[in-house]
Assembly symmetry: D4
Homo-oligomer: 209 residues x 8
Amino acid sequence: LRTGLPEAVYAPGKTPDQCAALVGELLAVDGGPVLLSRADADQAAAALAHHPGATVTGDRHRLLAWRPAPTRPGRTVVVSAGTADLPVADECAATLTALGLPPARLTDVGVAGVHRLLVDVDVLVEADAVVVVAGMEGALASVVGGLAPGPVVAVPTSVGYGAALEGVTALLAMLSSCASGVTVVGIDNGFGAACAVSRLLGPGAGDGG
Amino acid sequence: LRTGLPEAVYAPGKTPDQCAALVGELLAVDGGPVLLSRADADQAAAALAHHPGATVTGDRHRLLAWRPAPTRPGRTVVVSAGTADLPVADECAATLTALGLPPARLTDVGVAGVHRLLVDVDVLVEADAVVVVAGMEGALASVVGGLAPGPVVAVPTSVGYGAALEGVTALLAMLSSCASGVTVVGIDNGFGAACAVSRLLGPGAGDGG
Amino acid sequence: LRTGLPEAVYAPGKTPDQCAALVGELLAVDGGPVLLSRADADQAAAALAHHPGATVTGDRHRLLAWRPAPTRPGRTVVVSAGTADLPVADECAATLTALGLPPARLTDVGVAGVHRLLVDVDVLVEADAVVVVAGMEGALASVVGGLAPGPVVAVPTSVGYGAALEGVTALLAMLSSCASGVTVVGIDNGFGAACAVSRLLGPGAGDGG
Amino acid sequence: LRTGLPEAVYAPGKTPDQCAALVGELLAVDGGPVLLSRADADQAAAALAHHPGATVTGDRHRLLAWRPAPTRPGRTVVVSAGTADLPVADECAATLTALGLPPARLTDVGVAGVHRLLVDVDVLVEADAVVVVAGMEGALASVVGGLAPGPVVAVPTSVGYGAALEGVTALLAMLSSCASGVTVVGIDNGFGAACAVSRLLGPGAGDGG
Amino acid sequence: LRTGLPEAVYAPGKTPDQCAALVGELLAVDGGPVLLSRADADQAAAALAHHPGATVTGDRHRLLAWRPAPTRPGRTVVVSAGTADLPVADECAATLTALGLPPARLTDVGVAGVHRLLVDVDVLVEADAVVVVAGMEGALASVVGGLAPGPVVAVPTSVGYGAALEGVTALLAMLSSCASGVTVVGIDNGFGAACAVSRLLGPGAGDGG
Amino acid sequence: LRTGLPEAVYAPGKTPDQCAALVGELLAVDGGPVLLSRADADQAAAALAHHPGATVTGDRHRLLAWRPAPTRPGRTVVVSAGTADLPVADECAATLTALGLPPARLTDVGVAGVHRLLVDVDVLVEADAVVVVAGMEGALASVVGGLAPGPVVAVPTSVGYGAALEGVTALLAMLSSCASGVTVVGIDNGFGAACAVSRLLGPGAGDGG
Amino acid sequence: LRTGLPEAVYAPGKTPDQCAALVGELLAVDGGPVLLSRADADQAAAALAHHPGATVTGDRHRLLAWRPAPTRPGRTVVVSAGTADLPVADECAATLTALGLPPARLTDVGVAGVHRLLVDVDVLVEADAVVVVAGMEGALASVVGGLAPGPVVAVPTSVGYGAALEGVTALLAMLSSCASGVTVVGIDNGFGAACAVSRLLGPGAGDGG
Amino acid sequence: LRTGLPEAVYAPGKTPDQCAALVGELLAVDGGPVLLSRADADQAAAALAHHPGATVTGDRHRLLAWRPAPTRPGRTVVVSAGTADLPVADECAATLTALGLPPARLTDVGVAGVHRLLVDVDVLVEADAVVVVAGMEGALASVVGGLAPGPVVAVPTSVGYGAALEGVTALLAMLSSCASGVTVVGIDNGFGAACAVSRLLGPGAGDGG
Ligand SMILES: Nc1ncnc2c1ncn2[C@@H]1O[C@H](COP(=O)(O)O)[C@@H](O)[C@H]1O
Ligand SMILES: Nc1ncnc2c1ncn2[C@@H]1O[C@H](COP(=O)(O)O)[C@@H](O)[C@H]1O
Ligand SMILES: Nc1ncnc2c1ncn2[C@@H]1O[C@H](COP(=O)(O)O)[C@@H](O)[C@H]1O
Ligand SMILES: Nc1ncnc2c1ncn2[C@@H]1O[C@H](COP(=O)(O)O)[C@@H](O)[C@H]1O
Ligand SMILES: [Mg+2]
Ligand SMILES: [Mg+2]
Ligand SMILES: [Mg+2]
Ligand SMILES: [Mg+2]
Ligand SMILES: [Mg+2]
Ligand SMILES: [Mg+2]
Ligand SMILES: [Mg+2]
Ligand SMILES: [Mg+2]
C-alpha cells in the first residue's frame, strides 16, 4: 500500500469485461486494497463473477472493494449536509473503510439548522481528519472548519438546481471559505477526499509506504 | 414617500455640479428623504455646499441623506461577516436610517466562529427584517436564514480574492441557500437591500404609499 | 408553523417509499402544512397511498400538500410572463395556498405587450406581496417593481433557449433590475419565493412563530 | 458612401499623430463622412489641428466627424434608459447625424417608470428605425420592441455594477428578448448600431451604394 | 399583420391539444399569417387535424404556417455555412415565406472555402436584407457583412462541439464582428431573424402597420 | 495556539493605524504567533512602530510575524514552478515558519523541465507535507502528487496571462488532477495552504489544541 | 490530396442515406482518402453497403476510411493519458493512418506516473510530430512539450467529471502550458490534430499540394 | 539551439537588475539566441547596459534579442487583421527573426475586406508556415486556413471591447474553426506561435537539435 493511493479502477466508459480484467490485474500484483468505483450493475456483476468476495457499497456511485486494509489508527469523520449528498459521502466512507480508516458519520446537518451540528461538536473537535460533503451553497465546510481544529477536506457536490450550477457554486464557496486551512477536492469526488485523508494519516502498521 | 423607493442619486460618473443639481431637483419636489449615494469627496462637498444639512455616512461608499423620514415601527437588523464587508453594511444601515428604520447591528460574526452569532440569536428571532451582508463564501446568509423566522435579505459583497470572483461566489451561494425563503439582491447593493426592507415593512405614519 | 418555513420534502433522487416515509415523519410530529415537491407520478402515488387527503397541483413540478394552513390576512399576487413559466408559477401559488396565503394570478403578461399588464395595475398597487415569475430576459420584474410599491420577489425561470442560458440570463437581469428593492430567489425556485412571502407576511392567527 | 459603412478610425491604442494621419488618408480619397471615434483629448486635438472643421461630440466616448452626409429621409430615434447610458447613446446619435440621419432622442425612460415611456409611444410607432441603449438588466429593449413595429436595434451598455457583469447581463437579456425581431450589437457599441440603421435605411440621394 | 410580428405559437412544452387550441384562437381573430414553430410530429398532426391547410417545413425545427401573407417587395437572402446549420436556416426561410418575403438561398458557403461565396457576391450586393446562419466560429457573418452593403442579420447556431460551446462561441464572434453594422439575434433563433427582416422591410401592400 | 489557525490580520482595505491596533489586540490576548498579511509599506511601518520585533518577509505579499512558534516536528516542503510564483510561495513559507514548521524549498521546477524536479524526488518522498505553488496550467501539482506519498496541498497562482484566466485555469486543473488525494486551496492563498499543513501536522509541544 | 485537408464527412445529424450519398460524391471526384467520421452503427452500415472496402476504426468515435494514402515519410506519435482518452486518440491515429502517416502509440502515460513516460522518451525526442491527447487537467501536454523538441499538437478531451468542465479545464491548461510552442486544437478534436500534423509534414510523394 | 525552444526571459514582475542578470546567465552558457520579452523601458535599458548589442523590437510588447540565429530555410508568413493586433504580430515576427526564420508580413487584412487578402493568396499558398494574428471575432484564422495548405498557427489577441471578452471570443472562434488542422496558442502569445513554427520547421544548419 503506497499511502493515500489505493489501486482503483474507475468504471465509467469501460465494458464489464474490461472492468473485471483490470481488477484482476491489480489483484494479481499487489497486497493492498483494490477498488472498482462508479460501477453500474453490469460492471459490478462481471467483476464479482470473476473476483468474488468484494464488499459492495451504494447504488448511484457503487464502489466495490477487495482485500480491505486492516484498520489503522486515526479517528476519521464524514459529515454531510443533506440526503442528496449521501451517494458522495457514502463513496468517501466506503473508500476510507477499505483503506483501514472507517469513519464516524454525521448526516443531515445542513447549516440552516446549525444546532443539529453543534450537538456533535465533540466528534469534530477530537477527529484526526474530517471530510465535509455538501452541495448547494456548501456553507457547511466553513462552519465545520471553524469548529474542528484538525484537517478538514471539503467535497462540493452537484446537488441542487439552477444557481447551484451543478456543484460549481459549492466548489467556489468552499475555496473562498472564511475558515482558514480548509482544503478542497473536485466536485462529487468522495474518492479523492478519502485518498487525501489516507495521505495525511500516514501508512498503517506493516505498511511499506 | 412611495414605500420602498427613496429618491436617490447615484453619484458615480456624474460631475460634482450635476450631483448638486440633481439633489436640488429632488429636494424641490418631494417631501420625503433624498439620498446621494457612492459620492466621492468632491461630489459630497458640492452637494453639501448647495444643500446643507445632510447626514454623511461612510467613506468608500459615502452616502448623504437629506430630510430623513421619521422613525417607523419595525425592528430591523443588519448582520455582517467581516471588517471588509462594513462599507456595504454601512450603506445599507444609513439608507435604512434615512427611511425611518434605523437598524440594530451585528458585526464580525462570520460563520467560522458560529458561536459569536449564537450569542445574539434573540436579536435575529425577534427582528421584523434582517439584512445579511457577507462576501467570500457568503455562508452567513444560510446560518442566519436558519435562525431568523422573519424576512431575510442577503447582500453578497465583492470582498475576497481569487475564487471569490468579486462577489459572484457569494451571490451564487446565497441564491442556493439551503435556508428556504432567503432572498438576494445584487453584489454590494446595500442600498437595494434597504429598499427591499422598506417595501416589506410598509409605509410609515402619515405616508401616502 | 415556523413562519416562512413549511415542512417540505424535495422528491427528486428519492424512491417512492422514501418519499412516503419522510412525509409520514413530518405528519407525525407537527401541526402545520406538510409538502412534497417536484414529485413524479410514482412518488406522488406512493405518498398518497400511505397518506391520503393531499391536494395535488401541477404536473412537471408536481406539489402535494397535506394539512393546509387556514387562510391568513395578506393580499398576495403571482405574476407570470408566458405559458412556459406556468409550472414554476403554479408551484409558487400552490405553496402559498398551503401556507394560508392563496394568491391572485396575473398570467401571460410579458413585457412585449406591456398594456396587458397595465390593465391590472391596481392589483399590483394594492398587493401586500408580489411574486414575479419570468424567464428569457426576465424584464417583467423591473416593470412590476416600478408599478408595485410593496415587496416584490422575482423568480427567474429556465424558460427560453440559447442565450437564455437556462435561466442565468433572467437571474442576472433580475439582480441588476433598475427597480430598487426587488429581491431574487434561485432559478425556477417558486417554492422559495413562496417561503419568502410567508416570512414577510408574518405568522397567521394562532401561530406560534 | 458605401451604405452603412462610414469611413472611421478607432482611436484607442493609436498615437495622436497616427490618428491625424489616418484621418488625413480617408479625407484624401473619399467624398463621404469621415469619423474618429473614442478619441481622447490629445488625439482629438492632433486630428483637429491637421484637419479643422470636424464636429466634436461627447467626452468619455468622444467622436469627431468631418464632411457629414446631407440629411437623408428616415425618422430615426435613439432611446436610452439612464443618465449613465448617455455616452453610448450620444456616440450613436452623433454617428447617425454624420451619416445624414439625425435622430430624435428619448432619454431617462427606464422601465421602472414605464409611464414615462408610454407618453412618447407615438415617436416609437412612427419611427423608421429605433436604437435602444440600456445597461443593467436591459429590459428597455423588450418594452420598446413591443411598442415599435419597425426595426429595433438594441445596444447593451456596461452601465451598472456587480451582477450587471460589465454589460454581459444586458447583452444576454436583449438577445433573449420576448419581443420578436429585436436585433443586438456588441456591448457599448453605439457606433455599430448607427451603422446598422444606416444599412437598413439605404443609400441617401446621390449615393452610389 | 403588425409588421415584423407574426402571430406565432412556440410548441415546446405544450400538449398537442394546447397547440391546436392556441392556433385556433389566432386563426379566429386575425387576418395575417399564423405560425406554429418547433412542433414535434404529434403537435403538428393535432394542429393540422383541427386546422387543415398549413404548409409544413422542416423536421428538427418543424414550422407550420397558415394564411401566408401575399408576397411583398424586398429581395431577401438566407446564407448558411454548413449542412448542420440547415434546420435553423430553413426555419428562417419558412418564416420569411409566410411573411411574404420568400428568400433566395445560399447554402454550404463556409468561410474555409471563401471562393464558393464569392461566386454569388452579386446576390449579396443586391439584397435588401441578408440573414447569415452559421455555427462553430461564426466567421461567415463577418465575410458577408463585408460584401453586402445592406442590412445583415446574423443567427449563431448551436452547431459544433467542444469549444463551440453550444453556440456561445458563434454568438460572441458575431457580436465582435469587424464588419460594422451587422446585428445579431439569439442562438438558433431563425424565427427571430425573419421577424427582424420583416420589421425592416416594412408593411406589405394593404397592410395596416 | 489552536492548531492550524494562527491569529492573523489581513491588511488590504485597512488603514495603517487599524492594522497596528488589530495586531495589538491579538498580541494582548494570546500566547501564539500573530501575523499581519499582505501589508503595504505604510501598514508594515505602522505595525512595526507600535509592535517592534516582527520578522518581515516579502514585498508584493509582505508578511509580518510576531512571537513565532517553536519549531515543531514535521518535514514540510514548498515546491514552486516559476519565478513569478515566488511571492505566493514565500507567503506560504513564512507562515509555516511562524507556525513552527519551517519548510524546505524547491523552486523553479516547472514541469516543462521535469528532470529538474526528479533530481529532488527524495525530498518529496520523505516529506510529511508538501505544498505545490504553480500558475499557468498548474501541472506541477499532478507530477508532485504522483511522486510524493504524503499529503499534498496545491495553491494555484494568478501567474500567466490570457488563457491562464488569472488563476482559474490552474485552479481547475489542480482540482481535476489525475493524482488522487491532492487537495486545493484558493487562488494565490499561500497563507491558507500553510494553515492546512498546520492543521494536519497537529499541535506542537506544549500546545493546548 | 490537398495537404492536411482530407475529404471528410462529419456524420452526426445526417441520415444513413445522406452519409452514403456524400461519401459517394467524394469518391467520385477525388483521388485521395475519403473519411466518414463519428458515424453510428447505422450510418456506417449504409456507407459500407454502398461503398465497400473502407477500414473501420473505433466505436464511440467510429471512423471509416476509403482509399488510404500511401505511407509518407514522417515519424508521428500519438501519446494519450488514460483509458478514457482512447476514443479520441484512436480517431486521431486512424485519420493519420488514412493520410499516410501511421503513428507510434504511447498509451496510459498520465503525469501522475511520470516514470512510465520517461521510459519512452526516445520516441518523443525522435518524432517529427507528436499529438498529445489528455483530459482532466491536461498536464501531459506540458510534460511532453518539455521532452519533445519537435512540433507538439495537444488535444484536450472531455474526459473527467465535475471541475474538468467537459474538457474546458484541459483546454485552458494546454493553452497556458509552460512548455513554449505547444499548439492546441478543439476539445475531443482528434481529427483536427491529425489534419494539423498532415499540414506540417507536407505533401506525400506524387502529391500535387 | 534546442529546436523551437529559444532561451527567453519573461520580464513582467522582475526588477531591471533581475532581467539583466538572467539574460547574463543565458548568454554565459549557450550558443543560440537569447531573448528578453515584454520588457518595459527600464528593464530594457538595464539589460542593454550590461549586455549591449541586442536588437530591440516594439514598444507595448518590447522584445530584445541577442545572438540571433543564422537564417534557416523556411518561408514563414505573419498575417494580422488590424492595427491593434500589430504589437502581438510584431512580437511574433521579431521572435521568428531571432530564431533564423524572418517572416513575410501581411497586415491590415481583416475578413470584412476579404479581397485585400485574396490579392496575396500566393504568399499563403507557398508558405511553409503561417501565423495568423487576430482579435475581435478571430475569423481571419478560418479564411487563411482555407487558403493556405501548410501549417497555420492562430494567435487570438485581446483586441476589441465588450463581447470580445479580452480575447476569449477570438480564442474560442479559432478553436472552433471550420478550417481543419488550424492550431491555436494562448491569447496574445505571439512568442509561443513563433516557438511553434520553429519546432515544426526543424533545426537550422549546424544545429544540434
Ligand atoms: N448605491 C446604489 N446602489 C444601487 N442603486 C442605487 C444606488 N443609489 C441610487 N440608486 C438608484 O439609482 C437610480 C438613480 O440613478 P441616476 O438617475 O443615474 O442618479 C435610482 O433608481 C436609485 O434608486
Ligand atoms: N421558433 C421560435 N423562436 C423564438 N421565438 C418564437 C419562436 N416561435 C414563436 N416564438 C415567439 O414565442 C412567443 C409565443 O410564445 P407562446 O405564447 O409560449 O406560444 C411569441 O412571442 C413568438 O413570437
Ligand atoms: N493572506 C491571507 N490570505 C487569506 N486569508 C487570510 C490572509 N491573512 C489573514 N487571513 C484570514 O483573514 C481573516 C482575518 O481577516 P480580518 O479580520 O479582516 O483581518 C482571518 O480569518 C485570517 O485567517
Ligand atoms: N512573451 C512571452 N509569452 C509567453 N511566454 C514567454 C514569453 N517570453 C518568455 N516566455 C516563456 O517564459 C519562460 C521564462 O519565464 P521566466 O523564467 O519567468 O523568465 C520561458 O519558458 C519562456 O519560454
Ligand atoms: Mg448541501
Ligand atoms: Mg464574508
Ligand atoms: Mg418570460
Ligand atoms: Mg439601464
Ligand atoms: Mg458554421
Ligand atoms: Mg507555473
Ligand atoms: Mg487525462
Ligand atoms: Mg481582428
